[in-house]
């Protein structure tokens, strides 16, 4: 068994190595025909001239290609900016499509081979490693040695992993032109699903989904015997694979806008952006349904489901960010900060982002109805600030890159505006709570330690108090790791949900007037 797992680990590492090296393969040469194909009509003339020196030049790597491209492109734009010729400046990002079109790497000749050698090998190795986990062991809590692990307790393996993830996200969001070979590699899958070539987002969606699936299998092994964990994991795997990955691509195949039906504003912060609204309004009955469904989720779905089940119905059962956190991020859940200070920062930050998202959207909608008169500039500014700071840096780079440093829910806890909205409902009008079982708590601290949201669960449990907190995503792990059966996630009557027990059950000496 150990042999099988070690083999899996080696396969995984080879796959990862291949994935990391593939971007560096091949040579690059820009052709006029590609510029004609990739560039908008209004920019054709300018771009042909700007890129003139590059035509016919063979670049040995994407580095030299991108460097030259940026040099010519930026010189052109800078010149226009100096002349205050703002309307001529090219704001579109052509670096990615043109680099992709210029790639002459072996990947383009045999994309599937490279796919198998990189992502394929990593997935296969991952499964080979996770499937035999805890075989022939009785069901139970499998946390042995977590704090001795370099990977899971901020050792050098964890630091390397975190750094790799952070770098990957930075390149993905801001320098995707360096990832073109990987995107070319997944083109065949994209063509199969949506009929179109892949973008860096398709590549990201694919590995994101595969990560949830493989690490979901790990969850089945780790929490064997705990049906709540198993069913919840099946749920996030299903929603990621179908709603977040396959259905949007298939929609594109049918000339519909790419749409994730389970993504809800304000997490889906661009839902009310002009291009999205226009896209939905221009797509017939299904487009109309997208719009109405999205609004129903915001106005009725969130309060109603959260009233009955708490925010877990979304955060740890449906959400894509939650899905990744609960699977890929599970090994890091114990790294969340439980201090009072962290809780204070969390409340300011997460509600701050919610306010920002609401204001931005209000301006966007106002602007839409004012037909882009006064607020046009402000809207664009807000969109770009939000997209950069929240959508990319916070949700992506910090959200996932910081798994090995600050736990798997950094984004959900400190940044997600939808989590803040769900949390407000959960805190003030919901039937959900984590019930504390009378006086059985022994203050051991397993619940607090393994709470990914950094809730000091023990603080409540040892006082005999139920846990009612806006941030709780209902993952159920506190209940799972409790050695004395003290915690139970429950939906129940609102009466007695928030309770205070000055003297804990079992002691009859003192009669407390309540």
């Amino acid at each position: 068994m150990k042999f099988l797992q070690n083999t899996g680990l080696i396969f995984f590492l080879f796959g990862l190595l291949a994935f990391t090296l593939i971007p560096f393969l091949g040579t690059y040469q820009l052709e006029r025909s590609e510029v004609r194909k990739q560039v908008k009509d209004i920019h054709q003339e300018a771009m042909m001239e700007v890129l003139q020196p590059m035509f016919g030049t063979r670049y040995a790597s994407n580095f030299s290609f991108v460097r030259d491209f940026n040099r010519y492109f930026d010189t052109y734009n800078e010149g226009l900016k100096e002349d205050q010729a703002w309307d001529k400046v090219i704001w579109d990002d052509y670096a990615f499509p043109l680099t992709k079109a210029s790639s002459m790497s072996p990947v383009a000749d045999a994309p599937l081979l490279f796919l198998v050698l990189s992502i394929g090998l990593a997935v296969f190795g991952g499964l080979l490693y996770t499937l035999p986990m805890y075989r022939n062991e009785p069901a139970g809590i499998k946390n042995d040695g977590i704090y001795f692990s370099s990977m899971k307790a901020r050792g050098w393996l964890g630091i390397i992993t975190g750094t790799y993830l952070i770098l990957f996200y930075i390149i993905l969001y801001w320098y995707p032109e360096y990832l073109t070979n990987l995107v070319i590699m997944v083109d065949p899958i994209s063509l199969l699903l949506s009929g179109g070539p892949a973008s860096q987002w398709f590549l990201y969606g694919l590995i994101y989904t595969l990560a949830i699936l493989v690490m979901g299998v790990r969850m089945f092994r780790k929490y064997k015997g705990n049906n709540y964990q198993t069913i919840r994991t099946v749920s996030v795997m299903f929603f990621q694979l179908s709603f977040a990955f396959l259905i949007p691509e298939i929609l594109v195949l049918f000339n519909m806008p790419w749409h994730d039906f389970k993504n809800i504003w304000p997490l889906d912060y661009s839902f009310f952006y002009e291009y999205r609204i226009e896209g939905m309004l221009g797509s017939g009955a299904l487009g109309m349904f997208m719009l109405i469904w999205g609004i129903i989720l915001i106005l009725i779905g969130v309060p109603l489901f959260t009233y009955f089940y708490g925010k877990r119905w979304y955060c740890s059962w449906v959400c894509g960010c939650g899905g990744l956190a609960e699977t890929l991020g599970d090994p890091y859940r114990q790294l969340s900060d439980k201090s009072l200070k962290a809780w204070q920062i969390e409340r300011y930050l997460v509600h701050g982002v919610l306010v920002f998202a609401v204001l931005m959207t209000a301006v966007t909608i106002a602007n839409y109805f004012m037909e882009f008169a006064l607020l046009g500039q402000a809207t664009d500014q807000l969109h770009s600030i939000y997209g950069f700071a929240i959508g990319s840096a916070f949700a992506g780079v910090i959200g996932t890159g910081f798994y090995p440093f600050m736990g798997n829910r950094v984004w959900c806890r400190f940044g997600c505006p939808l989590a803040a909205y769900l949390g407000l409902v959960q805190r003030f009008k919901s039937r959900f709570r984590i019930t504390t079982n009378g006086g059985q708590c022994i203050s051991c601290g397993n619940c607090s330690t393994y709470c990914e949201m950094g809730i000091d669960v023990r603080w409540y449990a040892q006082r005999g108090q139920n846990i009612v907190r806006s941030s709780c995503v209902g993952c159920g792990v506190c209940s799972a790791v409790c050695p004395r059966g003290v915690l139970k996630l429950e939906n129940g009557e609102e009466a007695g949900r928030v309770n205070d027990m000055p003297i804990i059950i079992g002691n009859e000496s003192i009669k407390v007037k309540s």
């Binding site: 042995d144 704090y147 049906n227 139970k488 939906n491 129940g492 079992g506 002691n507």
Partner: protein, 449 residues
């Protein structure tokens, strides 16, 4: 020091609960907690998880380090060598003296040693304190086998700790069943089976004769009373604990096995109280209860009650409610409510159900009128409130069995056992107790009612 200072000796659950509740009731009275074990209160029951790598020491601290200052509870990390009860002073190692108006002794326990030959060898130890944990870490670094002596809760914890590092364990238990002075035969067998499932070499009805030394004064093996020799480099002594009262042996403080106290935790000396593991009641605090209560929960109740008396004019006696306790045997959780002795006689009668897997079990004990006296649950979490009430009100068997679903505290989607239990009960008693019906809507919204 002002003259109304309360000094608490010991920062375990009893002492700390007492301090916290004094502060709740009185915002000003000076409180000092003295301990030589650790600066801050930690959860003793969590020591095992540090060894197993589930947590680090800092995670076992129930309160943040700034909690104590915020609540004006001063902490003194010091070893008390002697207490001068006439001058009302603690003599600390290093010569410092600490005076008190009121002294609360909450010194806890120490592992039992029964005079086994070799019990003080290197590599032989119990597990109670933080220092014991550090020592165990050191003693079990590179060993081929560990032997545990005495089958109680600490023994099974130590077995689990050692197994988490793949150290082979032989577990000597004098009795014929595991923990069978507390557990009825079936439950003891269930636990024993599970311990073996975790590859522990459990030897029932086997006693320790002697611990064998190597030439460096370290343990190299043990011999059982059957004459068998087992090579090992570590011996865990887990045959219970007894009150840690060594420094009071030649003092005016009245002691027997523990520090003798009345029902208000008052010792024979004015202004001196004892709570938790180290206290011994002059008469048991309730029917079927022991005079020394060495459980986390009772320590907490002692602390709550004494704190009340130290801050109120009207004094109350310690009146514990329905007994409860819990433990975990490797993967199997155990909860008990009320009174279930290891053996009982007519007209008491019991109902016992065990799942096919042999890992889930329920015991209910009834009196001659078929009223519930207590229960044991294994691998099945049960609601404290439910059984506290059912036992206090003396519910009839059928009522308890019918409502078992609302006592169920297992996680959502957990396998339901209620129907199986009812089937067996009805078969054995010729009754027809039925599952209460829950509507689809009730199920959908998870309503218990």
């Amino acid at each position: 020091m002002t003259d109304n200072t309360i000094v608490i000796l010991g920062n375990g659950i009893s002492g700390v609960t007492c301090a916290r509740h004094i502060r709740k009731n009185d915002p000003d009275i000076p409180i000092t907690i003295v301990s030589a074990e650790t600066r801050h209160f930690f959860s003793r029951t969590a020591l095992m998880y540090i060894y197993m790598g589930h947590m680090k020491y800092e995670h076992t601290k129930p309160y943040a380090d700034d909690f104590w200052e915020k609540n004006k509870i001063s902490l003194k990390l010091a070893w008390v060598e002697q207490v001068d009860f006439t001058e009302r002073e603690l003599h600390l190692a290093g010569g410092e003296k600490l005076s008190y108006k009121t002294l609360v002794l909450a010194t806890g326990s120490k592992p039992n040693k029964f005079g086994w030959p070799g019990e003080d060898l290197k590599g032989v130890q119990g597990l109670y304190s933080y220092q014991d944990l550090l020592q165990m870490e050191e003693n079990t670094g590179k060993i081929g086998r560990a032997v545990l002596v005495g089958g109680g809760l600490i023994g099974v914890e130590m077995a689990e700790m050692l197994r988490s590092r793949n150290i082979p364990v032989t577990f000597l238990v004098r009795e014929n069943g595991f923990w069978d002075n507390i557990l009825p035969v079936e439950e003891a067998a269930l636990v024993g089976k599970h311990i073996r499932e975790h590859h522990v070499d459990l030897r029932l009805a086997t006693s320790l004769e002697e611990i064998i030394s190597d030439k460096n004064g370290a343990v190299q093996g043990i011999r059982t009373t059957d004459g068998e020799t087992i090579d090992c480099q570590f011996v865990g002594l887990t045959a219970g604990v007894s009150p840690l009262i060594d420094i009071f042996k030649d003092s005016p403080l009245d002691t027997d096995r523990g520090i003798l106290v009345d029902d208000k935790f008052q010792t024979n000396l004015p202004g001196v109280y004892a709570i938790g593991d180290c206290a011994e009641f002059r008469s048991a605090p309730g029917e079927g209860r022991k005079t020394i209560e060495q459980v986390w929960y009772t320590g907490r109740m002692h602390g709550e009650t004494l704190a009340h008396n130290l801050t109120h004019k009207k004094q109350v006696s310690y009146v514990p409610g329905i007994w409860f306790n819990s433990a975990k045997f490797f993967d199997i959780e155990y909860q008990t409510y009320g009174h279930v002795p290891a053996k009982w006689t007519e007209p008491y009668h019991s109902f016992y159900w065990e799942s096919g897997s042999g890992k889930v079990a329920l015991r209910l004990l009834f009196d001659q009128k078929d009223c519930i006296l207590g229960m044991n649950a294994f691998g099945w979490r049960m609601r404290h409130e439910f059984f506290d009430r059912a036992i206090r009100e003396g519910w009839k068997a059928e009522r308890v069995l019918k409502q078992l679903s609302s006592a169920d505290f297992n996680p959502e989607f957990h396998r339901q056992f209620h129907q199986q239990v009812l089937d067996q009960y009805n078969r054995e008693n010729g009754t027809a107790v039925k599952l209460p019906k829950r509507s689809f809507i009730q199920k959908l919204i998870g309503s218990r009612a």
